[in-house]
Symmetry: C2
Subunit: 406 residues, 2 copies
């Protein structure tokens, strides 16, 4: 069995990098805090006898040899980057649990048939550069490397400059090398497992999503002298579009998702009618067709709303991820492990995007969810129970070993 206390202590160790006063974590991808977390992780991997490689988009692979050098490796992992005001477990749980799997195998003197590789994917969150699942997306060939390297954050820093700045623009090519399977343990980030008192979510797939960049362009002018008829208020236009996103979401019932999470006003002065507003828009749903409908309705109606304010809307679709079913055989290994361990479980579709979604395009993949308090994530108050973390890690261990020794 894995060591639950060592797992928890290692999670708390990692949570020191970017710790916030409110008990959360701010470890934005490719910042110096991220570098510190990565260096710490690399040192722990090396200490556990693993060989660490870094690819050109900063993905880290920590390898443990198998008995049979001809067998394809079994991959598992997640991500160490966080939201601007994120929690201690979103991503870190999967990586640190993976380290615990490696350590437990060392303790037990087990050598698996297939080699094992623990992965830390770069920029899963997407909050800094606007591309979630960036590292896995480049690895899987979904995003072109050179395009991603040129993406900028709000301060104008490019991905490539940030990678070089922290010394994680590695020598390995970022492309889908052959692998036997990929497993990812993650917190659910939603309320379902907790509500139904299940310890393990057997993740059968992830829902579809589409992300946009939106820019409303009006004209900045004086708030006191510009009469209603002469206004081209970019913020009033944006406000109506935000309301539209919410309405479109609600029209799809409880499975609909529609969010404006990021917004910036220019010139952002109290007595100036805003001339420009830049904001993000995203929609999600388990069905591809519904996401397509949401996107279509949104594109058609948002422009009309802006026009009604004398404002131009520039809309750029950043990416669209179809719904991704996971590999039945890998999912079954998770199901069997949970059953064998006597853990309560249910099947679940992931509401969040995960690196597993892109990896699944090339490698048989499955995910394991553990419950989190009040379903709350992307929040500093994100919290899980050490017992649940241990259960999730034990399922990961069993699934990985079963696959590697099959």
């Amino acid at each position: 069995r894995i060591d639950g206390k060592r797992l928890w202590d290692s999670l708390m160790d990692m949570a020191r990098f970017g710790a916030t006063p409110k008990g959360g974590v701010r470890r934005l991808t490719l910042t110096d805090i991220d570098r510190q977390g990565r260096d710490h992780f690399r040192a722990r991997c090396t200490a556990a006898g693993l060989t660490v490689r870094v690819d050109e988009i900063g993905n880290m692979f920590a390898r443990r040899p198998g008995r049979d050098p001809d067998r394809l490796p079994v991959l598992f992992g997640s991500h160490l980057d966080s939201q601007p005001s994120g929690g201690k477990f979103d991503g870190a749980l999967g990586v640190i649990a993976g380290l615990e799997v490696m350590r437990s195998l060392n303790d037990l003197g087990i050598v698996t048939e297939a080699p094992l590789e623990l992965v830390n994917w770069t920029d899963e969150e997407g909050s800094r550069f606007g591309h979630s699942l960036m590292g896995s997306g480049v690895w899987a060939g979904v995003y072109a490397l050179d395009k991603v390297q040129g993406l900028t954050d709000l301060d104008g820093a490019t991905v490539q400059a940030a990678l070089e700045g922290i010394g994680y623009a590695g020598p390995e090519k970022a492309r889908p090398f052959p692998a036997d399977a990929y497993f990812e343990l993650h917190i659910e980030q939603g309320p379902i497992l907790e509500r139904e008192e299940k310890q393990i979510g057997i993740v059968t797939g992830a829902q579809a999503q589409v992300w946009y960049d939106a820019v409303c362009i009006g004209q900045d002018s004086h708030a006191g002298t510009t009469p209603p008829s002469a206004r081209k208020d970019a913020l009033v236009a944006a406000a109506r579009i935000i309301d539209l996103v919410d309405q479109l979401m609600r029209a799809q019932g409880e499975d609909g998702r529609g969010t404006v999470g990021q917004l910036q006003v220019l010139p952002n002065s109290r007595n100036v009618i805003p001339g420009e507003v830049r904001f993000s828009v995203e929609f999600r749903h388990p069905d591809d067709a519904t996401v397509a409908t949401l996107a279509q309705q949104f594109e058609a109606r948002a422009s009309a709303l802006a026009q009604g304010c004398g404002v131009r809307l520039d809309l750029t679709e950043l990416f669209r991820i179809p719904a991704q079913p996971f590999d039945p055989a890998c999912v079954d290994l998770v199901r069997q492990a949970a059953a064998r361990l006597g853990l309560s479980s249910r099947e679940i579709v992931s509401g969040a995007g995960h690196d597993a979604v892109y990896v699944a395009r090339h490698v048989p993949t499955a995910m394991i969810f553990t419950p989190c308090k009040d379903g709350l994530s992307h929040n500093e108050a994100e919290s899980i129970d050490p017992v649940e973390a241990e259960a999730g890690c034990q399922v990961l261990f069993e699934a990985v070993v079963a696959r590697a020794n099959r």
Copy 2:
């Protein structure tokens, strides 16, 4: 007559401080750029034989003695601070034209009966610390000095620290010393004079306004996993309130004003439902009663909108300025000067707040407007015609001299 070329050259000289690539000015109050502009202005005043005093809120008074030391001074001026992306003339015109009046008097060897004082008021714009008319407001006793000293900008810097930082926390008390009159030349910042092809606006008063700080507090959570029923989206709440502000304004017809100019989202991440949104709200109208009605309707309906999103609204009224009529005798001096000079003119109520509004509570006051291109202000493209600047300055000269020699 005043020297139109010297006036224009001096305006362009001042526009170098904080010049932006798009031809505008970014000279935010109490920044180092503001200090450079102030130092330049002080040097030009001293060179013109004026004695410069600075008060504790940074207001600058440049005095030219009169023949009769017992006469109260005639004041005139405006402000040198600008919006974040402001124009070259908003404020600077009144100060630099005042300097030109002093220089012309020197050239002509005129000593007025009453002393003259040219004023540069601190932080007229209000975009940095949230209090427009700050320097004149403290001087006039409308704002308590210690309260204003503690106001902070978005980065947490206080007014007092900023004053000391640029060396303009002066030794003089900021309070309404006795004065005979105050005249302020300013660009109209609206479309009326240009539309009616008038060279001079005889400003009879300024409209009423109310400013608020608003904070919507919901709960940040994951955009992909949080179902519609569990969302407490602070940005959706803010969006509906922004729409309300626009609707309330439009219900008042062409004289209504209602604006959300500044807005900040937390944590401002693409895939996080915003947990907090902070924004400004302001309403204006020529009638006090209408502003009171707007304020009442807004306060009642905004909270309900927030509640409908599961969001709390905290609303703070920052200040309310009643409509301010100017002094009939001073207004008449402006009217007479325009007529004598053969300039086309019309009476006008100011849509913008001006330092003159607070000064008028203690000192007989009038204002002179000149047209600006397309009525555009609080915009880097703000533009005026040198001929109009000269005409406005000449009216200022005549009104000031007439009053000082009466």
